[in-house]
């Protein structure tokens, strides 16, 4: 039964009104309200401080993506190849943290990482460190907090691709005399690159836009674009500049989206 294409019109109109128009309006505001059009962008893209902030934003997202990949891949592999009847439990444990609020998890890390927190107390008692480590309000806690939030997305993306790889391929390699490692690196891993790409783009994109973790765990040790937008809004109140920054962030997101579409097209999968 073919439904009339017009049934999609209300949804499309809604998004044009409240998604496309606001973003366009935002793009215009960033250039219009200043006498010298584009002065905001000149400041953003030439001032060493703002270039540094953009660099930190990208570097942080890249670090979080890489860490999520390294930590998440074995879990995805275990889930698909080894978990057997435990796979529902593994899926539940992977998805369950997504049910908790971001504030809850950040709060948990603050308790753990505090100067007299659980981690420091344990390390001191074990005699591994002399004085408490300054874990909180450092880039370390930010990366840990972000990886904790985003790694489930990586695991699920990789697992869905691993699921589609025929295990017989790896078994053939083994029978033909390849070792475990060789089989993994030459057969399974290359076949799972699609999942790695999908997961990485997703995690990178989400990391780029996050600010709650940075705000509550970073303590100003890292300045990123979303954090500056937040500050423009709450304290500085230079909205035109805030709009310019959100546009830079938007361009980053669009680039990721484009990359995603290219990958999907190449794979021949329909969205």
């Amino acid at each position: 039964m073919a439904f009339s294409p017009w049934l999609s019109a209300p949804a499309a109109l809604f998004l044009i009104a409240f998604f496309v128009l606001p973003l366009t309006d935002n793009a215009l505001r960033s250039v219009a309200s200043q006498a010298a059009a584009g002065a905001n962008y000149l400041k953003l893209l030439t001032d060493p401080y703002y270039l540094w902030v953009i660099g930190v934003t990208i570097a942080l997202s890249a670090a979080v993506t890489l860490a999520s990949l390294v930590l998440g891949y074995p879990i995805a592999y275990f889930l698909v190849r080894k978990a057997g009847r435990w796979s529902s439990l593994i899926i539940f444990l992977t998805v369950a943290p997504l049910l908790t609020s971001i504030i809850m998890r950040t709060f948990g890390w603050r308790v753990l990482f505090a100067r007299r927190g659980l981690l420091n107390v344990l390390l001191l008692d074990a005699g591994w460190i002399e004085r408490p480590l300054a874990l909180l309000n450092s880039p370390v806690s930010v990366v840990v907090g972000l990886v904790h939030v985003l790694v489930p997305f990586m695991v699920l993306s990789i697992a869905s691709v691993l699921q589609g790889i025929n295990p017989r391929l790896g078994e053939s390699a083994r029978i033909l005399g390849a070792g475990r490692m060789r089989t993994f690196w030459l057969v399974t891993f290359p076949l799972s690159l699609d999942g790695i790409a999908t997961g990485s783009i997703l995690v990178f994109m989400l990391a780029n836009g996050s600010f709650v973790t940075l705000l509550l765990l970073g303590g100003g040790s890292l300045q990123t674009l979303p954090l500056l937008i937040y500050q423009q809004f709450t304290t500085t109140r230079d909205f035109a500049f805030g709009a310019a920054m959100s546009n830079v962030l938007l361009v980053l997101a669009l680039l990721c989206l484009l990359l995603q579409l290219v990958l999907i097209r190449r794979r021949g999968v329909k969205t």
Binding site: P5, S8, A12, D25, I102, I103, I175, G209
Partner: protein, 276 residues
């Protein structure tokens, strides 16, 4: 059975890596659950300050949720926004998903990409842009603005899950109904709708869970009448660090788990994994 074909050396060696992998899996999930468990434990502490392990057990911080009005009031706003945005997301999204899934035209996939695109935008950009736009239009930082902002995110979630379910269904089922004399409305009401129902519920479930925690969007519409729970929690955290936030989080977690269990009980979670 493949194992028997492998050389003996290979068979012997294959246990150690499995054990290492299993150990890693256990450590990984300890890492994932640790901060959550800590917060739940801290919620029951008896002291004014936060220590871990806690000293003394009490329920005073749960009572504080009720006494500190902003928590209680914002919870209501949060739930109203979450359910209403899921409802409007479904009202707009379900017809769109049905219309576009089987429409064989180049525009169809383009339109689908467009309907899903809000999910790829950083929410902070969306919130920032929407606040100024809605203020210019005259809505300001109102309940309606907040609802519109959340619906922009709920809509693509519903579209994605419903399209995923509908794509997997055979068109023959509806055709049979039509051939047997059902009207288009009857075919939709008695054939299509029951089959896509899991998709609708899954989409709404995701939309609600996401909306409840969507600080980056809610944050911009913060006025006393429109502050959602995460916004209130954030501003509370910026001033004081006491166990009440842990108590609120624990209550929230219990709500989410109950909600998920109820859905599981009635509709099953199997078909709920987000379709690509």
């Amino acid at each position: 059975m493949i194992r028997r074909l492998l050389p003996r050396k290979v068979r012997a060696e294959s246990c150690a890596p499995d054990a290492a992998l299993l150990l890693y899996v256990v450590l990984f999930f300890a890492f994932m659950l640790l901060p959550i468990i800590i917060v739940v434990v801290v919620a029951f502490s008896a002291t004014e300050y936060i220590t871990f392990p806690i000293q003394g057990v009490s329920l005073r911080w749960f009572r504080r949720i009720y006494e500190y009005r902003p928590f209680f009031n914002s919870l209501r706003v949060t739930l109203e926004i979450a359910f209403l945005s899921a409802l409007f997301g479904a009202l707009l999204g379900v017809p769109a998903a049905l219309a576009l899934t089987r429409w064989k035209h180049p525009i169809a996939s383009l339109a689908m990409t467009f309907l899903l695109s809000p999910l790829s935008m950083p929410f902070i950009v969306l919130g920032f842009a929407l606040l100024f736009f809605l203020s210019a239009v005259g809505f300001g930082a109102s309940f309606l603005s907040l609802l519109i902002a959340h619906t922009v995110v709920s809509l693509p979630y519903v579209v994605r899950t419903v399209a995923g379910v509908y794509r997997g269904l055979s068109p023959n089922l509806e055709e049979s109904a039509l051939v047997l004399g059902a009207s288009k409305w009857q075919a939709f009401r008695y054939v299509t709708l029951p089959m896509i129902r899991p998709g609708i519920f899954a989409g709404c479930l995701f939309a609600i869970l996401l909306s409840v925690d969507n600080l980056p969007i809610s944050f911009f519409f913060g006025s006393p009448a429109t502050s959602t729970l995460p916004v209130v929690m954030l501003s509370y955290l910026e001033n004081s660090f006491d166990p009440s936030i842990a108590a609120v989080s624990t209550v929230q977690l219990v709500f989410a788990l109950t909600f998920l269990l109820v859905i599981e009980r009635f509709y099953g979670l199997k078909g709920m994994a987000p379709a690509s």
